[in-house]
């Protein structure tokens, strides 16, 4: 879809210009922003709390400290410690179990500073991980990216079989030598099975390595790992809305901007993401 939009906007490249402008905006009330994740990895899972700010705040978000955080799977509770300001980690390592619903609860927070502490809650079920058959790496020296530029790219092709019985929501991010390069939420590639339900992915590209970006350059013998996320519909929609919001707006293609969803109560921003990960690795062999 993005490519199509690019195709029909290529004419605009010739006639449009951009320029910084001054805009006066009202200030907003402070709200709690929650970044919380539980995956099927055995690790200390984290929750990050911060305050929202005005758009032109131009500083690091203010962390929300001294909160009490608890995650429960209905049987056991997992307590979290604040390991650095606003960053909370589970005291013990645990791995999420597919099919289980996790509950997040955040308390001892007074975001609006009215002297009353608020409680924030969220819940999400962990989806079952997907089976990936194989992955493959290809080099394309003139790949058209989402911005419509043609550049040299390494592309990662995916082979898997979609389950026809379920609605599946996929997310993809890649590591180079065990370092996650697609580490911001806007770099995660997402897909739902609407257009290939029950089908074979036939080597569709899901990993994109821009050879002009220093951290994405691939050398021979690099180990590339694909993380395939099994997401809930709600989390998929959150990421989708996030990415839509992050794209450049145009009067032709964009609907009116709107606030993206959140699954956290009490008017908080952010998401309690619960998803499972499948990892597949491959070693790149560049023939000289």
């Amino acid at each position: 879809m993005k490519r199509v939009i690019y195709l029909i906007t290529s004419i605009l490249i010739l006639s449009s210009c951009t320029e910084k402008m001054d805009v006066k905006l009202d200030s907003t009330s402070t709200r709690l922003c929650v970044e919380a994740k539980i995956t099927n990895d055995l690790k200390r899972h984290f929750v990050k709390l911060s305050e929202s700010s005005d758009v032109f705040f131009n500083k690091e978000a203010i962390p929300v400290t001294k909160a009490n955080i608890k995650v429960s799977d209905g049987i056991s509770d997992y307590l979290y410690d604040e390991t650095s300001q606003g960053y909370y980690e589970s005291v013990s390592k645990f791995s999420g179990i597919p099919g289980i619903t996790y509950y997040l609860s955040i308390s001892n927070v007074d975001i609006d500073q009215n002297g009353e502490k608020e409680i924030y809650q969220a819940q999400s079920v962990m989806p079952f991980p997907y089976d990936v058959d194989s992955i493959k790496m290809n080099y394309d020296k003139r790949h058209m990216n989402d911005d419509g530029d043609r550049k040299a790219y390494w592309l990662l092709s995916l082979y898997l079989q979609d389950d026809i019985e379920t609605e599946n929501y996929y997310g993809f991010a890649c590591q180079i030598n065990n370092i996650l390069v697609h580490d911001t939420i806007t770099e995660v590639v997402i897909a739902e099975d609407t257009f290939f339900n029950g089908g074979d992915s036939k080597g569709v590209d899901v990993g994109f390595f821009d050879q002009e970006k220093p951290d994405e350059i691939i050398y021979t013998n690099d180990k590339i790992t694909l993380e395939t996320y099994a997401m809930t519909e709600d989390y998929f929609d959150f990421v989708n809305e996030f990415q839509t919001m992050d794209q450049t707006q145009s009067p032709m293609f964009s609907g009116p901007p709107a606030n993206i969803r959140s699954n956290i109560s009490n008017d908080a921003i952010g998401f309690f993401a619960v998803y499972s990960i499948t990892r597949n690795s491959i070693t790149v062999n560049i023939e000289q």
């Binding site: 490519r3 199509v4 195709l7 029909i8 290529s10 004419i11 605009l12 490249i13 010739l14 006639s15 449009s16 951009t18 320029e19 910084k20 402008m21 805009v23 905006l25 009202d26 200030s27 709200r31 922003c33 911060s50 305050e51 929202s52 005005d54 758009v55 032109f56 705040f57 131009n58 500083k59 690091e60 530029d149 043609r150 911001t184 939420i185 806007t186 257009f195 290939f196 089908g199 074979d200 992915s201 080597g203 929609d237 996030f242 919001m245 992050d246 450049t248 707006q249 145009s250 009067p251 032709m252 964009s254 609907g255 009116p256 901007p257 709107a258 606030n259 993206i260 921003i269 952010g270």
Partner: protein, 860 residues
């Protein structure tokens, strides 16, 4: 009469017996002393001075009737005409004897066609006016007029904007067919502009909120990239706003772009844009007439809430073969037209236009762009044939396409229309038009690269039969009635992978079918000299018909169930009564007050979430889940003409209440979505405004300027927390001017100017950090505004020197769009600073600063 009539020459094709006046030219001069005489007194004066005797019916009271005179001296024949006109007599001169007869009083009908003398084109909305009765009519969209009057001797004038007024004194004792050809106004300037009684038609006509733009005026105005564009000209009118800068979408009185009914020779056009909407599909060389109804929509028209844009293609020159065209900056045009056969009965027009923008792309140094193919073309064709004086047929068609293509992707879209029409005169009072209409809009999108290879088609098709009758009952009543039956076929989207390598399977949005029917009747009734009423009713019906699938949605707009209906099964019906009322009250010769009320309903709408729209947007019908939109519009206006009707001004106030307004949920997915109806949210909207307009048709200066104050708001469940918000088309202040000035015989300059409040927009006011990016926290819907929009465009037209005996006429048009380079924001984005990721800044994107262009236009 204060109008100056320069020419009395008239070309009147008189069928049947005629008595043209002044058969015997008599040159005696009669001197008079008084301003008024009785008939007897005056005839005695004539007898004394010229020696002519007279006779008259003695049983009448004629001898004591008064004749008013204005001058001291008359040629005898003119004086006799004057007497006859005032006293409704006819006369005959034999030897030295003048014999008068009274004209038998009965109702007679004059009817016929009004055409252009040079090209034979029908003149739509030309006026026929009878001075002595202060009564008249205008020709319908086929150039036909009919007027029933008491028999008598009258001064009959015919006039049309841009053509000379023809006036003659005619004795009408029987029904008469008077087909008139009006001469084109001379291109010479320094000539007094000719106006007739009919020129005050904006005062006299019982029609408000309607603007007619002569294509000739539009052609003089500056245009983006030199492409004269009818829709862009419309956007320069008060009450009309462009939906997005540079685009052809427009909003009328706060309505949505999809609430405008655009008919090209009566066939609906579903996407009037080329090239991302920067140009409209209407090739001005092929268009004869353009009329926009912003309200007061006639009962014969329905199906859209806000406006009706009536575009008529030329019939083709029936007098001689001719051509016209132009070579422009982005496209070239050629139109050929002429008679077929010898007796003026058949004529054709063929008109084409193609862009060559891709040639420019080829010159670009940007590798990513220069192998792209981007073009559009239009073809208009029309044939009309007069079978006999009572029957006429027309066939017209439009075919247009846009194509975008690069290495692996391709998009093409276009409209096609076909209109077959048969005009039939059952009598000189009953005019009938039968039309068969077909219209299609489709697009095709594909990608051919390996695993992503797919093809995606979408189509909307209409087939209609329409019957209109105009019954000219008498000079006080014109009744129109008829009906329309339409079959709509929606194929909103079918996508499938292509080739073995493609991982895409297939996805099909359910096709659907619908019937749309309407019956209407209306009457325009004159009551006395000053008051005219118009009242009509339209009964409209919409049926969803199988084969179709209907989803049931729960309160969270999730599908809970679905029902499939068999082919031909009508599973849902909506009906609406749509009253259309209007009144005009003339205050005097130059001013009037008008009022109107109209209810309109709309059964299909565009799934368009962006303000500008794109070619992939699909139309969807009313259904069990989507109630038809309804609108009630009330308007009142004051109309006043100045300077012998050369300046027409009007002020109108309107109020509109709309029900079942459709908007879309946040982050709506409108394309390739089976459950599209789940993305819809419903509510109501309200619009009001004041529009002022002055249209100038002075000697050297023509054009218009306007000011609008307007407001339009929506309240929709599930959007903006249910609170009322500004419609994207809410623009309070709007000033517009489009003027052209004839400098010399060969050169004219023109300018457009527009100044309006910035469009409503939603801005982020807050932000929150999340996984390396920012979540923007937005204001209430449309609670901010873009900076004010203003722009001026200039154009200069220079005609080549005309050599005698040379058929070829050429002119150069130089235009400059956005002459002072205002950087009007097209959109404002809030961008994370790459160098300092903690920073967000606002960045505006603007289009088109100083766009110069040159076009060469020719005629032969």
């Amino acid at each position: 009469m204060k109008h100056i009539i320069l020419t009395l020459s008239c070309i009147i094709m008189l069928l049947g017996s005629t008595n043209l006046l002044s058969q015997n030219r008599i040159n005696n001069i009669i001197k008079t002393e008084k301003n008024s005489y009785t008939f007897n007194e005056l005839m005695n004066v004539i007898k004394t001075q010229s020696g002519y005797n007279y006779t008259y019916p003695t049983d009448s009271d004629l001898s004591q009737k008064t004749v008013n005179l204005g001058k001291k001296e008359y040629a005898l024949d003119l004086l006799l005409d004057k007497i006859s006109l005032q006293l409704q007599l006819k006369y005959r001169i034999t030897e030295k004897q003048i014999s008068f007869k009274t004209i038998q009083k009965k109702t007679v009908t004059i009817s016929g066609y009004i055409r252009d003398k040079k090209t034979g084109e029908d003149l739509i909305g030309a006026a026929c006016y009878i001075k002595e009765l202060a009564s008249g009519t205008v020709s319908n969209v086929y150039g036909f007029y009919s007027l029933s009057i008491p028999s008598g001797k009258y001064t009959v004038s015919y006039s049309f904007l841009g053509n000379k007024t023809e006036e003659s004194i005619i004795e009408i004792e029987e029904d008469k067919v008077l087909t008139v050809e009006l001469d084109n106004e001379s291109q010479q300037i320094n000539e007094v502009v000719i106006t007739g009684e009919g020129a005050a038609k904006n005062i006299k006509r019982n029609e408000m909120s309607v603007i007619k733009l002569p294509v000739s005026t539009v052609k003089k105005l500056p245009a983006l990239m030199g492409e004269v564009d009818l829709i862009k000209a419309i956007q320069m009118l008060p009450g009309v706003k462009p939906a997005a800068e540079g685009g052809t979408g427009f909003s009328v009185r706060g309505g949505n772009p999809d609430q405008n009914l655009i008919l090209l020779d009566e066939a609906p056009v579903y996407n009037a844009s080329h090239l991302l909407g920067f140009f409209s599909i209407f090739n001005n060389d092929a268009i004869s007439d353009l009329k926009l109804y912003k309200g007061d929509i006639p009962a014969s028209i329905g199906g859209r809430l806000s406006s009706f844009l009536d575009i008529r293609m030329k019939n083709g020159n029936s007098k001689k073969f001719s051509g016209s065209g132009g070579i422009g900056t982005i496209s070239s045009r050629l139109t050929l037209e002429g008679p077929i056969g010898k007796n003026d009965k058949t004529s054709f027009i063929l008109s084409g236009r193609r862009s060559y923008l891709d040639l420019f792309l080829g010159l670009s140094s940007n590798e990513d762009v220069n192998d792209n193919i981007i073009y559009f073309y239009d073809l208009n064709a029309k044939i009309n044939h007069r079978i006999n004086s009572k029957n006429r047929i027309f066939i017209s068609t439009y075919f247009g396409k846009d194509k975008f293509k690069n290495n692996d992707s391709q998009l093409s879209f276009g409209n096609q229309t076909l209109t077959l029409r048969w005009n039939h005169l059952f009598s000189n009072k009953l005019f009938s038009n039968t039309s068969l209409l077909w219209s299609k809009y489709n697009y095709e999108l594909s990608n051919s690269s390996g695993a992503n290879a797919f093809k995606w088609d979408s189509k909307l098709e209409d087939l209609s039969v329409k019957q209109d009758f105009n019954y000219f009952l008498n000079s006080n009543n014109t009744i129109k009635f008829g009906g329309i039956f339409t079959y709509h076929k929606f194929e909103p989207g079918y996508a499938h992978g292509i080739g073995e390598e493609s991982f895409i399977s297939e996805y099909k949005v359910n096709n659907s079918n619908a019937l749309e029917e309407a019956l209407f009747v209306s009457n325009e009734q004159k009551i006395g000299e000053r008051l005219t009423l118009k009242y009509g009713i339209r009964f409209s019906m919409f049926n969803n018909i199988g084969k179709g699938t209907v989803y049931d949605f729960n309160n969270n707009y999730e599908v809970t169930d679905s029902s499939i209906y068999k082919s031909g099964n009508i599973y849902n019906t909506y009906t609406n009564w749509e009253p259309r009322l209007g009144a005009k009250y003339s205050l005097n010769e130059v001013s009037s007050i008008k009022m109107s009320y109209s209810r309109t309903s709309q059964y299909m709408q565009l799934a368009q979430n962006s303000s500008g729209g794109m070619p992939l947007d699909v139309w969807f019908p009313s259904s069990p889940n989507v109630k038809p939109q309804k609108s009630d519009q009330y308007a009142i206006g004051y109309f006043r003409n100045f300077k012998d009707n050369a300046i027409e001004t009007s002020v109108e106030l309107y109020y509109k209440k709309m029900k079942n307004t459709v908007d879309f949920k946040d982050f709506a997915n409108l394309l390739l979505n089976k459950e599209l109806e789940g993305e819809l949210r419903f509510g109501s909207s309200e619009a009001y405004g004041l529009e002022f307009m002055a249209q100038l048709n002075l000697n050297r200066l023509e054009g218009w300027f306007g000011y609008t104050y307007a407001s339009t708001k929506r309240t929709v469940t599930g959007i903006n927390k249910g609170n009322t918000y500004r419609s994207p088309y809410d623009v309070p202040h709007d000033i517009k001017a489009a003027l052209s000035y004839q400098l010399t015989k060969r050169t004219s300059i023109s300018a457009n100017f527009t100044y309006s409040t910035g469009k409503p927009i939603t801005f982020p006011t807050g932000r929150a950090e999340y996984q390396g990016a920012f979540i923007k926290i937005y204001s209430d819907r449309n609670s901010y505004r873009l900076p004010d929009y203003h722009r001026m465009d200039l154009a200069l037209t220079v005609k080549n020197k005309k050599k005698p005996n040379q058929k070829w006429e050429g002119e150069w048009n130089f235009s400059l769009y956005n002459a002072y380079g205002r950087k009007n924001p097209w959109i404002v984005n809030f961008v994370q600073d790459e160098n300092d990721p903690k920073k967000i800044y606002a960045e505006k994107t603007y289009l088109f600063t100083f766009v110069p262009s040159v076009t060469y236009n020719f005629k032969f």
